[in-house]
């Protein structure tokens, strides 16, 4: 029952924050931090446990909470990131009104996600899923203004997804007579393939929407960019990964390997979608000029990698997918937090064209952002490298070079937009209006520091997380990977981080020594520049405006978010249609009487002539 008490504790805590916050403003922050930390601690202490409990009966369904390695890893990530972003919120939300509401919802989201990963049956999975949806809606709307359409988009997509999932669950229930995950996995083999595919499609819509797989991605960019930054971190880091969790649960826990391998057509479709999800958003990210929107598109693309990993279905790819989930959670959260710090200090400016040169003012944030970007690109010695390496390798060796191409080219796109982000915020000229920008406060630095450390740590010692992941994929029925502390051993190409680390270190030291031996350089002002003799006015002395101008020109002509346009068009069409429909209520009683008699007459006429009833 400990799981149940934990959830109850968390929910009560969330309410407590709200009501305490109304009367004692200081307490709510302390409470929020303490509760989220305790949650993290609880989950961490549950390591290695494997059990499930029946905590509630709902309309004849037994609801379970369960924990095992698979859910533990996700739960840990959720509570950890939740904790960090609440710490980050302390200063981010300081001056905002109504932050008790914010903290409460923040905890709601975390608890709901915790509930999702701890759910032992599909009904409680769904319930927590919905709680997550609406609390997220409230949080996205929090900043008002342009956040409102964004959250509308989110919630509408979300409702579509969750309802299709509900249908899927109930359909599955009709076929198997159970919704308990551990039982489903035994029974599902007796179901015919067509039904399984139908269920998979229904679930895929739900998970695909949450995971922002193209063509269901359109809610994500506005939602991520408009949400408060600490929450963007959660949103991007873990919330959308609930889709990943769902896919893993569906494919490998419920349906199981021996069936999923026979659904080749389906997996191919999903893989292709994943590939599109990698390439398309990557290039759209390059075109963005809003820091958070850029990161949002990047999230879509990275979610594509994860999706690719888990739908490709080899042990390497699944391990890579799960690992990339973990990594992405960390580095994307870090980057959102860093952007959040910038936003906090510049009072809400995130437009890449008007920033620049912040490295002098906020060096720590720069470092965090750089590490995050390196992880995002997947440079060796950061965590992103290992997970991407696993995915590429299996894609290449299992004969899917085109998918691998998508993944690799996506990485190059990643470099472009990551560099744009870093360059336009931190490098280049510092505009005069930002002369007095302060450093990020400690409560912002601390989460960023922790996350950066983890990126490097996992990058050098990928064996540690991979061991957990190994256990998960073994529980899915795969062979374990041959994991060492520093990498992976396999017959078709090994990975050994320690070599790279050692070489880098040695070369680095040598080069630095070499560099030091040269004549000492002189530090100069940012305006002390070589401009080939031409005069450039100060305010124009910065090349941030449309950084990739040639590429923009090239891509803008054909690269648009057609799917979003399509959705918006159809929404407008539906609105128009709805407006037309209600014109039947004309306001004239005579027509209403006509409807009534028409109804009666038609019924009689039909029955007289054809006896249909």
């Amino acid at each position: 029952m400990i799981l149940f008490y934990m959830m109850i504790f968390a929910f009560v805590g969330a309410f407590l924050i709200y009501f305490a916050g109304k009367s004692f403003p200081r307490i709510k922050e302390i409470l929020a931090v303490v509760i989220s930390f305790l949650l993290f601690l609880f989950v961490a202490l549950l390591y290695g446990k494997d059990f499930q409990i029946n905590y509630h009966n709902f309309l004849g369904f037994h609801l379970f909470l369960r924990i095992n390695m698979f859910s533990w890893l996700f739960a840990l990530t959720i509570t950890f990131l939740g904790f960090l972003s609440i710490i980050f919120s302390l200063s981010y939300m300081k001056d905002k009104k109504n932050n008790a509401f914010y903290y409460m919802n923040m905890l709601f989201v975390n608890i709901a996600m915790l509930g999702i990963v701890l759910a032992g049956d599909l009904i409680s999975f769904f319930i927590f899923w919905e709680i997550m949806s609406w609390s997220t809606f409230l949080l996205i709307s929090y900043k008002k203004g342009s956040a409102l359409p964004a959250s509308m988009k989110y919630i509408i997509m979300s409702i579509i997804g969750s309802l299709s999932m509900l249908i899927g669950i109930l359909y599955l229930y009709d076929l198997t007579d159970t919704t308990i995950i551990s039982q489903l996995s035994h029974i599902i083999r007796f179901i015919n393939k067509g039904d399984v595919i139908f269920v998979v499609i229904l679930f895929s819509i739900a998970f695909g929407i949450k995971n922002a797989v193209i063509p269901f991605h359109n809610w994500l960019p506005p939602a991520h960019s408009e949400a408060p930054s600490p929450f963007s971190a959660i949103l991007s880091g873990i919330l959308i990964k609930m889709g990943v969790y769902g896919f893993l649960l569906l494919f490998y826990v419920i349906i199981g390997l021996d069936i999923i391998f026979h659904l080749t057509g389906l997996t191919i479709v999903l893989n292709v979608l994943a590939a599109i999800t990698i390439i398309f958003p990557t290039f759209l990210a390059i075109l963005q000029n809003d820091a958070k929107r850029l990161l949002a598109w990047s999230t879509v693309a990275q979610a594509g990698y994860i999706f690719m990993g888990i739908t490709y279905g080899t042990e390497l790819s699944v391990a890579g997918g799960i690992f990339h989930f973990l990594n992405h959670a960390i580095f994307k959260a870090l980057m959102f937090l860093a952007v959040g710090a910038i936003e906090y200090r510049t009072k809400g400016i995130r437009d890449l064209n008007s920033l620049g040169g912040f490295i002098k003012k906020m060096p720590f944030t720069f470092a965090a952002m750089l590490i995050g970007a390196m992880g995002l690109i997947g440079l060796p010695l950061t965590n992103g490298f290992v997970s991407k390496w696993l995915i590429y390798k299996t894609l290449i060796l299992n004969g899917s070079p085109f998918l691998a191409f998508a993944a690799l080219i996506g990485t190059w796109g990643t470099i472009l937009y990551s560099y744009k982000l870093i360059h336009n915020i931190f490098l280049g000229q510092l505009p005069a209006k930002f002369e007095n920008i302060q450093k990020a406060p400690f409560s912002m630095k601390m989460p960023m520091m922790i996350l950066s450390t983890i990126i490097i740590f996992f990058g050098i010692l990928p064996g540690i997380p991979l061991q957990f992941i190994n256990k998960i994929i073994v529980s899915f029925g795969y062979h374990p990977l041959n994991v060492s502390l520093f990498g992976i051993v396999s017959d078709s190409g090994n990975l050994n981080i320690i070599n790279i680390l050692a070489a880098t270190f040695v070369i680095g030291v040598l080069i630095v020594l070499f560099f030091r031996s040269g004549r000492k350089s002189v530090r100069v002002d940012q305006y002390d520049n070589y401009a080939a003799g031409s005069f450039i006015p100060k305010e124009k002395y910065s090349y941030t405006n449309s950084f990739y101008a040639p590429l923009d020109r090239f891509l803008n002509s054909f690269l648009k978010d057609y799917i979003d346009i399509f959705y918006c068009k159809s929404a407008a069409l539906i609105r128009h249609f709805c407006n037309g429909i209600r014109k039947i209520y004309t306001g004239y009683v005579g027509s209403y009487v006509m409807y009534i008699l028409l109804f009666l007459a038609v019924l009689i006429f039909v029955q007289l002539n054809w006896s249909v009833f």
Binding site: W412, I415, L427, N494, G518, R519, P550
Partner: protein, 312 residues
């Protein structure tokens, strides 16, 4: 042993890189009907730069260029040079592909910090150009990896030695051609000398580099020449193999030596060809270059990949 090999390959690459830089200038001069500088001129330059005054724009300005050089050197260790390979079994081609990123990224960071608009423009161009040829390069690598069913570069080299050079095999000739077509772009030669256009944007990314920064940049440049061509030789020309003539002495010191020599000779040949192209063509605009790359080499490479996949 490994450390020795590392040092050896580092030295080889540095020397060869410098040599290439010198060679390029020499050949250009000869084409221009001039005498040209001595072939060791770049080395002299580097040493000279080291003692000149340099300006720095900040910590990342220093760090970036160092990262860039680390990246380049690191790649060298992953490349088998003839029979010499330090740790080409630590992740294979994928790692190479990734470490290749480090160098431009470091340079970009460094020149970004310099806050010079020309540098920023240069970087922007360079990244876009890189992106476009990377399309082709990735496909080429994928065709090779799919064909040989490995991600280890060393194994690819060995398999070529056992059967036939990739460039000579009909399945892989298209990727080879594509690689040759993008080679000037990778080397930063004309017609793709867009990022570092000295007349237009004052040498682009390296505009603010002076003194030891320029020295490191030059070394880096040389290394990049080396890496690009070494990769080609390894991938398509069988590395240090010469039709199996020296198979009998492989494994011995002399075997390694011979293969290294053969390797270097192949590299020089390829390099010379590229330099000729450089001399002949004028510089393209970025859009033109991107379009060119995305039309011809890319389509060739894709056809190549399709062939490989279809046959497998």
């Amino acid at each position: 042993m490994n450390i020795l090999l590392m040092i050896l390959s580092a030295i080889i690459s540095l020397v060869t890189g410098m040599f290439f830089l010198g060679l390029a200038r020499k050949i250009m001069a000869m084409i221009h009907w001039r005498y040209g500088p001595p072939i060791y001129q770049p080395l002299i330059d580097v040493i000279r730069y080291f003692h000149q005054r340099a300006v720095s724009h900040g910590f990342i300005f220093d760090l970036g260029i160092i990262i860039s050089l680390i990246g380049s050197l690191l790649v060298v260790f992953f490349l088998p040079l003839g029979n010499i390979s330090s740790f080409s079994n630590s992740g294979g081609l994928l790692v190479i592909l990734y470490i290749l990123i480090l160098s431009p990224l470091g340079l970009a960071l460094s020149s970004g910090e310099s806050a010079n608009p020309n540098a920023s423009i240069g970087i922007s161009r360079k990244l876009i150009l890189t992106l476009s040829y990377e399309f082709v390069l990735i496909i080429i690598l994928l065709s090779l990896m799919s064909q040989y069913q490995t991600i280890s570069l060393q194994e690819i080299v060995m398999l070529q030695a056992r059967k036939v050079w990739s460039f000579a095999s009909w399945k892989l000739i298209l990727p080879g051609i594509a690689y040759l077509l993008i080679l000037p772009a990778m080397l930063g030669f004309r017609p793709f000398e867009i990022a570092g256009a000295s007349q237009e944007i004052s040498a682009g990314p390296s505009v603010e580099f002076g003194g030891k920064y320029l020295a490191l940049n030059t070394i880096n440049h040389g290394l990049l020449h080396f890496i690009t061509i070494a990769l080609f030789v390894n991938l398509f020309l069988g590395g240090g193999d010469l039709f199996g003539i020296f198979d009998s002495i492989s494994g011995t010191f002399w075997g390694s030596f011979v293969s290294l020599i053969i390797f270097l000779i192949k590299m020089i040949l390829i390099f010379v060809i590229s330099v000729f192209i450089n001399a002949v063509f004028p510089r393209l605009r970025l859009e033109q270059a991107t379009k060119y790359i995305l039309y011809y080499p890319l389509s060739i490479a894709i056809v190549g990949l399709i062939i490989v996949v279809a046959i497998n």
